[in-house]
C-alpha cells in the first residue's frame, strides 16, 4: 500500500514537473514504475531478512521446484519472443520494408519480457499448487 502511494505520488510529482505532453506522461509512468519496483524489492529484501533472522529458510523444496518451473517457462517465452524479433528483422524489415528495429531497444524489450514473465509466473505458481 505504501509503495503504491509512493508510486502515485512520484507519478503526480513527475507529471507536474515534466508536463502533460506524451513525453511527460511516459516519463512520469517510468518514475512510478521505478518507485514501485524499488519499493517492492526493498520490502522483499526486508521480509527475507526478518525470516532469516527468525530461523526460517529462504528457499526450500517447494520454492526450488517453483523456481525451476518459472525459469523453464520464462526461458521459453523469452526465446520465442526473440525468435519473433529475428523473424521480424528478416521478413518484416528486409522483405516487407517495415521499420527497422533498434538493437538496443530489442535487447531491452527482450529483457523486460523475460523479467515480467518471470515475476508473473513466480506469483502464479506461488499461489497455485505445483
Amino acid at each position: 500500500m505504501g509503495t503504491a502511494a509512493l508510486s502515485i505520488a512520484g507519478f503526480m510529482a513527475a507529471l507536474y514537473w515534466l508536463g502533460t505532453k506524451p513525453f511527460g506522461i511516459i516519463s512520469s509512468l517510468n518514475v512510478a514504475l521505478i518507485i514501485g519496483i524499488g519499493g517492492y524489492a526493498a520490502r522483499r529484501w526486508w521480509t527475507t531478512l526478518q525470516e532469516q533472522r527468525a530461523g526460517h529458510p529462504v528457499k526450500d523444496e517447494r520454492t526450488l521446484y517453483i523456481e525451476g518451473r518459472v525459469g523453464h517457462y520464462s526461458f521459453l517465452v523469452t526465446l520465442y519472443f526473440m525468435l519473433g524479433l529475428l523473424w521480424y528483422s528478416f521478413l518484416g524489415v528486409s522483405i516487407l520494408g517495415m521499420p527497422d528495429l533498434d538493437m538496443a531497444y530489442a535487447m531491452i524489450i527482450s529483457l523486460l519480457v523475460g523479467s515480467v514473465t518471470n515475476l508473473g509466473l513466480r506469483w502464479y505458481f506461488g499461489k497455485k499448487s505445483p
Partner: protein, 73 residues
C-alpha cells in the same frame, strides 16, 4: 488423479504447534506447511518423514488418500 489429504492441522493442534514452528522444525518455509495442509502441495519423501518424526506418527497416518476417490477407482 487421486487427491490426498492430511491430518497435519489436527496433529499441530494436539502438539500445540503453529505452522511457523512446524516449518522451523522440519526446515521449510511456513508457506510450504500451509500448502501441504491444504493438500495443494505434495511433500517429498524426506519432508514427509521429517513431519512424521515431529508428530511421532507413521507417514501413512498423516498423509491419506481421499477414500472416496480410491473406492471409485
Amino acid at each position: 488423479m487421486i487427491d490426498m489429504r492430511t491430518r497435519m492441522k489436527e496433529l499441530r493442534a494436539r502438539y500445540d504447534l503453529t505452522q511457523a514452528e512446524l516449518a522451523r522444525k522440519v526446515g521449510v518455509r511456513r508457506e510450504t506447511i500451509h500448502f501441504v495442509e491444504k493438500g495443494e502441495y505434495n511433500p517429498s519423501l524426506r519432508l514427509a518423514l521429517k513431519i512424521a518424526r515431529v508428530f511421532e506418527a507413521p507417514v501413512e497416518d498423516i498423509f491419506l488418500f481421499d477414500d472416496e476417490e480410491l473406492e471409485a477407482q
